[in-house]
């Protein structure tokens, strides 16, 4: 039993060389200001605070899909990618944890949001913790996370956290969360709880290997004799 890792101190190491974990925020917000970006940032901040509390240094990178709109569209019809888009994809594909939020459009995520995730390598997010969020006009869209977002990340075989955060327009008016509220738990409480869930998973997984900035993904060589044998 002495091999069982001590779950109480996930970083587990020398406090003088704290470990870092890279959280990548992917916001599908299309406006500026954007409630999706606001939600995503709050969720990442909550996760980062919990990681910090556990002695892990959170590095948060924010990818705003709206800023890459043209480049995403171009990349879907053409194989070359702009430096900015490639840098965003590199961040996402090397993340230790992901927070991603889309606005709800026509009962699903926005098309641009999907177009971005379509560019991510199929195997890049295998086993990577992903915390989902969505915004929408009314709470009636709140199952969008489970009917649309979750299958997308299941396809990518990421560790999709069961907690998620949906923020409807009304939620933003109830920041303090009055005691007598008849509706859901106030937004910030849900954000904090979801952030904690993400941090607890990210903190217990080893940091993923990272490449130097701009360094291309290494090519994997399968020895030719093996290819010839057909396996």
């Amino acid at each position: 039993m002495e091999d069982t890792p001590d779950l109480g101190s996930p970083a587990g190491a020398d406090p003088f060389t704290p470990q870092a974990r890279h959280l990548v925020v992917v916001s599908g917000g299309l406006g500026d200001p954007s409630s999706s970006l606001m939600l995503a940032n709050r969720m990442a901040t909550a996760a980062a605070d919990h990681l910090s509390a556990e002695g892990i240094v959170p590095e948060v990178h924010v990818v705003e899909i709206r800023l890459l709109a043209t480049e995403i569209a171009e990349a879907t019809v053409n194989p070359s990618r702009s430096a900015a888009l490639q840098a965003a994809l590199d961040q996402v594909e090397q993340a230790d944890g992901i927070v991603t939020v889309s606005p709800t459009f026509k009962a699903s995520y926005s098309g641009l949001f999907k177009a971005f995730w379509d560019l991510v390598d199929n195997d890049a997010l295998r086993g990577v913790p992903v915390l989902l969020g969505a915004t929408g006009g009314t709470p009636r869209h709140s199952l969008m996370i489970d009917t649309a977002l979750r299958p997308l990340f299941s396809y990518l075989r990421s560790k999709v956290l069961s907690s998620s955060v949906f923020a409807a327009s009304d939620d933003w008016g109830e920041v303090t969360g009055g005691q007598g509220s008849a509706r859901t738990t106030p937004l910030q409480h849900r954000i904090d709880a979801a952030g904690e869930d993400l941090a607890s998973v990210v903190g217990r997984l080893p940091a993923r290997p990272r490449r130097a900035t701009g360094e291309a993904k290494p090519l994997e060589v399968i020895p030719f004799e093996q290819l010839l044998r057909g396996n």
Binding site: E74, V77, N78, P79, S80, R81, S82, Q86, A216, P218, L219, E220, V221, I222, P223, F224, E225, L227, L228, G230
Partner: protein, 406 residues
């Protein structure tokens, strides 16, 4: 250094005047362009292989290449690419071998998989098997060109018993093969394994991919003992449009670029020229850009240009060939030659291959005796033998123990 042009045979409406060439016109123009390339000082003409509109590149490139062989003197006739996945390797061996005889050895091939999904089922194949098809089919093709009385069995084709290719390759030497791939490491590995050449089309992708693929091929070429990494055979594509004055080039080419098949209606001309090797400008700019390719991939043997696509009128294409031939190629030949170390080979010609075979120096697939690959294989075999021996002896020990207990 060889310079050439490659064509995909697209039939595209000229966006400046709305005219579309007929298939017949485009085919005859392809011949005109190839013959003109020879006169303009190019070394190589390569045709694509296509099975679907809007392309009229031949379904069987030797048809066009044999016709060109009869009408040219020195031009090396090649492909860009020969579809190794969907074609029967036996027919490829026969057709290219025959072409080699007609063309007096002025033939080589670039193998490609083809990325048009629907083409595969037309030939009874499945695109998801692209790599295994390329591996098995080329291995059979290689054997057909190097052995007689072949017994063969594989996953994708009827077995062969006692099969001997006819005609045998010219002078007993198979045409040189380049393997083309944009981003499949398996194909770079394949090229290295056989000691063949590696070709990157260098048209649509950012340079990082090109550098990575060529580096992998070079390392593995050395690993398989065919020579040092910097001596491996590398070919690159490229794309240019020129005018004496670079602003005129941009103005003239823009409508064609904007409406081009594959990359049109995407990034702007300015972005695309920044991200990819496309150069639109003065001959001097084309010279500088092409020399840059050498900084990416090292000294290489063949530079191909895509010149006749996107609906450009044939007369404009011929002018472009003249500009390249007069103002670009002479400078590039001189500069590349100056930079190339003496131990880096030139692009292989039939004469070179015959001479190499005569010296007994033809590459051995998987590596000659003494190559790192061969040593690794021997080490693995020895380890496997040792562990089998261990397993056997421990099995006999336990057997004797249990005998005692009984």
């Amino acid at each position: 250094m060889q310079f050439g042009i490659f064509t995909i045979g697209d039939i595209t409406t000229d966006p400046t005047n709305g005219t579309t060439p007929t298939e017949h016109q485009r085919i005859k123009d392809t011949v005109r362009i190839a013959k003109h390339a020879e006169q303009a000082g190019f070394d190589v003409f390569a045709t694509g292989q296509h099975h679907n509109p809007p392309f009229v590149a031949p379904g069987n490139p030797p048809t066009l290449l044999a016709f060109l062989a009869a009408q040219t003197e020195k031009l090396v006739l090649s492909t860009a690419t020969t579809l190794i996945t969907t074609m029967d390797p036996v027919r490829l061996a026969e057709d290219y071998s025959y072409l080699q005889h007609l063309a007096e050895g002025r033939v080589d091939l670039t193998m490609g998989r083809g990325n048009t999904g629907p083409v595969y089922p037309w030939f009874g194949k499945d695109i998801r098997q692209g790599i295994p098809l390329a591996v098995e089919n080329y291995h059979l093709l290689y054997r057909l060109w190097h052995e007689e009385n072949i017994d063969w069995q594989g996953r994708f084709r009827t077995p062969l018993q006692d099969f001997t290719l006819t005609p045998q390759p010219l002078d007993g030497v198979a045409p040189f093969v380049w393997h083309g791939s944009i981003r499949s490491a398996e194909i770079a590995e394949q090229a290295a394994y056989y000691g063949d050449g590696f070709f990157h089309n260098n048209i649509f992708w950012n340079k990082e991919h090109i550098i990575q693929m060529v580096q992998l091929y070079r390392q593995r070429y050395e690993y398989y003992g065919h020579g040092q990494a910097h001596q491996a055979y590398v070919g690159l594509g490229g794309q240019a449009f020129m005018a004496k004055n670079s602003q005129d080039a941009v103005k003239q080419f823009r409508p064609y670029f904007d409406n081009a098949p594959v990359y049109g209606h995407g990034p702007s001309l300015e972005q695309f020229t920044k991200m990819t090797p496309l150069t639109v400008g003065s001959p001097q700019q084309v010279i500088e850009r092409t020399l840059e390719f050498r900084d990416w991939v090292g000294d290489y043997q063949r530079q191909m240009f895509l010149m006749d696509h996107a609906g450009l009128p044939t007369d404009v294409v011929l002018e472009q060939l003249d500009l390249l031939g007069e103002e670009v190629l002479p400078v590039l030949r001189q500069e590349f030659a100056k930079l190339k170390p003496a131990d880096v080979p030139e692009a292989p010609t039939h004469e070179f291959l015959v001479e190499r075979a005569r010296r007994g120096e033809a590459p051995v697939p998987g590596g000659k005796e003494g190559s790192p690959a061969r040593k690794d294989a021997q080490e693995r075999a020895a380890q496997a033998a040792a562990s089998t021996a261990d397993a056997t002896s421990s099995a006999s020990t336990s057997a004797s123990t249990s005998t005692k207990e009984n």
